[in-house]
Amino acid sequence: MVGPITLLATAVVLPAAAAGVLRRLLRTSMVLSLPIGISALLVNLFFFPGGSEVLLRLGPVTATREGLELALQVLARILAISGAITLFYLTTRPAELVVDLERRGVSPRLAFVANASVQTVPAMVDRASAIIAAQRARGLDTEGSIAQRARGLVPIVGPVIMGSIAEVEQRTMALEARGFTRPGRRTLLWHPADSGAERVARWLLVLTVPALLVARSAGWLDLLG
């Protein structure tokens, strides 16, 4: 458990604090990892086979100390992963990402898709909230019981999907009309600054991965668990 937490602290929380996005990072990655985090916590806590030290008995299931430890470890890992992904999105300007990918020889279309998928999330969230508002205005009860809310899913999910399809269609036409489907390299006007320090940091990160793998298999990290 100490491992993922150390990682979370050094690779996610510290850089996020340095970039001034710590609060947004915490909020976003909490929301992202909450559902999977809770289910992982419950499953590992109550269904860990062969734990000996019983902490809590709830009918047919028991929570053991070993289960709790594993659950916390899984949770820490999920937080480390979701935190790292969120940090990437919060600190990377999509336009810069695309330009840089292209400069490194990635096909413009692939670069566009990579970026569009980043941008689609907030657009989807906006659309979904507008749709929820419109359906509530028509008396859809989203504040009632779970059964009532479940009934409200179709009127919300339907327009979200149809709207996304229509938008993709329109965007595709607009892109085609501007020559985006032309084969071959595009002209690039600029590329993001890439300082020496950034390059060094990037290579250090790349080298850290095999180093950690070696350390792990040699048993030097067992202490951290």
Binding site: P94, A95, Q170, A177, R178, G179, L189
Partner: protein, 268 residues
């Protein structure tokens, strides 16, 4: 010159064609208005004229579309882009969405064509200049007003230096300020000799910029001629098109017995 020769278009899965036997010519330096009720086929006409249909939208086309003599179905889409630029109703979905500044957004088309860097820069400044939006160059396109976004979309087309501009209800979704802004720009482009095919419900705008107007109803052309004649025709309302304000008020005044010269002069 843009020529449609007896063009019919039926979308994949549709029972009836969206446009039937449409023939029209857009001469160099001409602004041609297309009016008609909704579902008359105006958007389909624009898609066909730009070559997007049938290339990007599935369907069956009859007849021929010629852009400066070249059959559109024989040209790859990126070559069409330099011949005909198309602008749609909704400003947001026309922007690439991946450009951080207006400048890059307008440069997007020329960059796609792989033009020389200097050429891209010159074309982009030219487009900004023609539309009078150089002050927006460094702004984030997604933070602009609807009217400004629509001008950026048009600028993105102009940077491709297309021989023809096809505009599908470019002011329909805009507020009065945006409509005025885009209208003024279109009037400037028209005066500058651009070849424009434009559909609009706002006949007041067409009256100002178009030399000729065609009326589309149920997929077919039902009237065509000089703007003043077509938009002042008595049967226009029956075709589902609003007369320009000037025509409507003149008619109302004349009907009430106020058709004398001094009052009619006040309409201009």
């Amino acid at each position: 010159m843009l020529v449609l020769e007896a063009v019919s278009y039926r979308y994949a899965g549709a029972e009836r064609p969206a446009i039937r036997q449409v023939s029209l010519t857009l001469d160099k330096g001409e602004v041609l208005g297309v009016v008609g009720p909704s579902e008359a086929g105006k958007t389909t006409l624009c898609l066909v004229a730009s070559g997007l249909a049938p290339r990007a939208i599935r369907g069956a086309m009859d007849g021929r579309v010629l852009l400066d003599g070249a059959d559109t179905t024989a040209l790859p889409m990126h070559e069409m882009a330099a011949r005909a630029g198309i602008c749609f109703q909704h400003p947001q979905t026309q922007l690439s969405g991946i450009c951080g500044t207006v400048f890059e957004e307008i440069a997007f088309g020329p960059m796609n064509l792989g033009l020389q860097r200097d050429d891209v820069v010159v074309r982009t400044w030219d487009a900004l200049d023609v539309l009078g939006i150089t002050a927006l160059a460094e702004r984030d396109p997604m933070q602009l007003s609807g009217g400004q976004m629509q001008l950026v979309a048009i600028g993105g087309l102009l940077a491709l230096r297309p021989a023809h501009l096809i505009l599908d209800e470019p002011t329909a979704q805009l507020d009065p300020g945006g409509t005025r802004l885009v209208g003024e720009c279109l009037a400037r482009l028209a005066a500058g000799g651009a070849s424009i095919l434009i559909t609009e419900q706002k006949t007041d705008l067409l009256e100002r910029i178009c030399g000729r107007v065609v009326v589309l109803e149920k997929g077919g052309i039902v009237a065509a001629g000089p703007t003043d004649e077509v938009l002042a025709a008595a049967g226009l309302a029956a075709m589902g098109v609003a007369a320009p304000s000037r025509v409507r008020v003149r008619r109302a005044l004349a009907g009430a017995g106020f058709g004398d010269g001094a009052i009619m002069d006040a309409l201009h």
